[in-house]
């Protein structure tokens, strides 16, 4: 394999960054088309492909069944998360902890989450539904700072959840819809990160997805 300097430097970077390395392996050594193509080309990165066994695939299949199969399952999984987000912002607005610009931002983010709920509900129905029901939720609303931090956590998780699920979506139109929501969750996350003194891009140049089990474990404390 002829290593150009450019490629060399990318590999060097990957070698010291486990997060990017994982992504790189998923990118170049996956079991789908990319991996097959590498093998077919006789590229000596076959051993990369060997190291790509996803530890989360089994979990993802199990969790999908909790929400239903296929795209409907993924839509209902997303809907459940959007319900939680919308409920959270509704409570935050009611709490009286915020005023002025911060309140306006929170209201706007909450309104977007509610639009996501409405769109996903309609989508679930069109897929033969039923749509997931709104979960009972409870959130700690102690003070403005901790609420903003929780909002940032929730949005970063939401963005990671969409990213983790996107590749499992079969219908291109549903994928397009999910992507249009995914980047908005990313926008919310970035602004809330800035407001709470965190990096707007905490994963660096490549955002990381999260699988369903990870996401559901994270939201568990907020389910009543």
């Amino acid at each position: 394999m002829s290593n150009t300097p450019r490629k060399q430097s990318a590999v060097t970077r990957l070698a010291r960054d486990p997060v990017s390395r994982r992504r790189f392996f998923a990118l170049t050594g996956g079991t789908t088309a990319a991996g097959a193509l590498l093998v077919a080309c006789g590229d000596d990165e076959e051993e990369t492909a060997t190291g790509t066994t996803s530890s989360s695939s089994t979990t993802d299949e199990e969790m999908t069944s909790q929400f239903g199969e296929g795209d409907l399952g993924i839509v209902n999984y997303a809907l459940t998360l959007e319900y939680l987000e919308a409920a959270f912002y509704a409570e935050v607005v009611k709490s009286g902890l915020f005023k002025g610009d911060d309140l306006a931002l929170i209201k706007q983010i909450g309104a977007a989450e509610q639009e996501h709920v409405d769109a996903l509900t309609a989508t679930a129905k069109q897929l033969g539904g039923p749509p997931a029901e709104a979960p009972m939720a409870k959130f700690p609303l102690d003070d403005a700072q901790s609420v903003l931090e929780l909002a940032a956590t929730v949005e970063n998780l939401g963005a990671a959840a969409y990213l983790g699920a996107a590749a499992m979506i079969e219908d291109p139109e549903i994928l397009a819809a999910a992507l249009s929501i995914h980047s908005v969750e990313g926008r919310h996350a970035a602004v809330l990160n800035v407001l709470t003194g965190q990096e707007p891009t905490p994963d660096g140049a490549f955002a990381m997805g999260a699988d369903m089990q990870t996401v559901l474990d994270e939201v568990q404390p907020f389910l009543a």
Binding site: K7, A176, A207
Partner: protein, 211 residues
């Protein structure tokens, strides 16, 4: 890989059979019609497609690479803008570095897949560097455009692994867009659903920045 001669290889890259099915869905949420559109292409991207293999995914990656080249070049020049606030200067450095990482990753991936990465286009950002305001407005244009470009192209990616990677990039573009908008006192999320743009619309939008 055969060098297939197609009347319009770029069209082959952006047609997806299943997109034309009259399924349901969130009409009005997406500019759905836009996703199907396939009109004329500008020379730069004609070149991009001509250099790639016939694989649709490689063509999409080269399209993305062209945009990332533009963004990386923009931030690189932006680092010289006089009078940037400390906050904005910090974003220029961080975001510029991330766009360069996208460039590097896309080039390496295209090469790994047996394709040929397109060359960086010659750029002309006009008076985008004349003031912090001008710079920020152009940065917002680029980042929002990047989001819409990836969101429009991603559903056409065949490989699930590449799709996940494109998703990881578009989320970062969205984070950049929102952060810069917020720093400028603008609405970080102007819409509840980010629009998707066709390849053609994206190229039209970047045309003013090509030398």
């Amino acid at each position: 890989m055969q060098n297939q001669v197609q009347a319009s290889p770029e069209l082959a890259a952006i047609e997806v059979e299943s997109l034309n099915r009259s399924t349901f869905l969130i009409r009005g949420v997406l500019a759905a019609g836009a996703i199907y559109g396939a009109a004329s292409m500008t020379p730069i991207i004609r070149k991009a497609f001509a250099q790639g293999a016939s694989k649709g995914d490689i063509e999409i990656l080269n399209f993305a690479l062209t945009l990332e080249y533009l963004e990386a070049a923009f931030y690189k020049e932006g680092a010289n803008v006089k009078g940037l606030s400390e906050e904005v200067a910090g974003y220029v450095e961080t975001f510029g570095g991330e766009e360069q990482e996208h460039v590097d990753a896309l080039k390496a991936t295209i090469t790994d897949l047996g394709g040929k990465p397109v060359e960086a286009p010659a750029v002309d950002f006009g008076d985008a560097f004349s003031s912090q305001d001008a710079f920020i407005q152009t940065a917002i244009t680029f980042e929002d455009l990047g989001v819409s470009a990836y969101n429009g192209a991603a559903p056409m990616i065949e490989s699930k692994d590449l799709l996940a990677t494109a998703g990881g990039i578009v989320q970062v573009e969205a984070r950049h867009a929102a952060t810069i908008r917020f720093a400028a006192g603008e609405d970080p999320t102007p819409q509840a659903f980010d629009p998707a743009l066709t390849t053609d619309e994206v190229l039209k939008a970047v045309q003013p920045f090509l030398a």
